[in-house]
Amino acid sequence: MKRLLGVALGVLTAIGGFLDIGDLVTNSVVGSRFGMTLTWAVVLGVIGICLFAQMAGRVTAVSGRATFEIIRERLGPRTAGANLVASFLINLLTLTAEIGGLALALQLASSVEPRLWVPVAAFAVWVVVWRAKFSVLENVTGLLGLTLLVFTFSVVLLDPDWAHLVHTAAAPQIPASEGAASYFYYAIALFGAAMTPYEVFFFSSGAVEEKWGPKDVSQSRLNVLIGFPLGALLSLSIAAGATLVFLPQQIEVSTLSQVVAPVAEAGGKVALAFVLVGIVAAVFGASLETTLSSGYTIAQFFGWSWGKFRRPSQAPGFHVVMILGLLVGAGVLMTDVDPIRVTEFSVVFSAIALPLTYLPILLVANDREYMGDQVNGRVLNGFALVFLVLIVVASVAAIPLMVATGAGA
């Protein structure tokens, strides 16, 4: 019974914790501009993150080492150092986007200017990272994030032409109003939003925090394989809502209030209250995860002691890095920058950086010296290699497409 509850809790938090500001914004923008024609990119993204998280979780559970410890060990200090710089900066960009998203969500709930919320949000994240227990922070934000299911209910309430929605998703065509370059640019953005590197840093380091061993591998596999696809269903619901409300009027989503507009239209104030709670919880959860990831990556690379299972005084470097990361992120947001634009860039740069963390995990998941009998099987390796190619193609194509489309404008 206890085990069943554990599985249920794990799956629920995986669903509620799947979405972050990148998923919320990108899916909504894509729905408003391309309808459901990019569903395939979300599907590829969720298969990719299932593969990646499952491998990273298994590697950590069996070898006891988290992602950046492995990268350092396997690639050597120089290559791993370059990898660290890129991964850390992109994680910092994501962290900035999450704190900005949190401020925007709090603005929607309170009508108080987002820049006044930024320091409050950053401080709240720091207090929780400093004080709260790992399992508490993960479970509370994950469970509250489940209120985002209201996105799915809203789509039903909006009473769409289901056949048309499914048809545009299953037989996609680039809309006449958009160019092919923009279409594929947003495909990469959706892919990056689903497969953000911090998710893997957090997932593997979290396995150490929660002291997973080889016997926990099957539960982690269930969490991932059930929770993430259901989380992706939320992504598609957001896109569908934007498709129904904005696409016919040719309005492009550019604010968080537009992201939640389909929910308000479908379900009124009650639904809006639910979605705001969900967004604050999901984005707060993602802020915690990215903040922790900034500490995890640096501390693991340099071999410092790290982790929430230690008191802050036992892992000072880890906590200092997180404080500095929050200060930089909040500092950037206090300028004129638009958090929604930061988010759009963060998901694309996530796609660019993905091969750096994916390849080492794939190699170690095949290494008997670390994994013993729990190495990847043939079928899994087949899928993993197909995704290696996809990830590299997306990474290489992202910058030219960004230049060609003026970052999707």
Binding site: G76, T79, R368, E369, V375, A384
Partner: protein, 125 residues
Amino acid sequence: MILSDLVDAAVYEDGRQLGFVVDVRLALDGPVTGLMAAPRIVGLLVSARTSTSFMGYERTGTNAPAVIARYLAYRHRGTFLVLWEDVRTVGGGDAAGSADARVELRPGFRRWSAALEQHGTASQA
């Protein structure tokens, strides 16, 4: 000298360039200092065409995913191990050891297999 001085260094025999140092092989069989046996340099791994890493695929038991293993084996074809006794001079680099570090081998040195035996599997080199 630190290990980073050696990695990436160009390798010469009699003025002819043979390749680059891609790894340094150590044995932990020196006298015990502190907790561990002191490491001893066995030799250098010299790759003919590239100074990029072997990523662990020099171990004989490590061959999955096959596509990646084959690609790396191809990139590093002709890689050999040269014993430290066969290294005549190391130098030419700047103080930081990065630019133009140069390893000169003793003429008539012997090329050993680069494969690292793992889990008792037979060497294929």
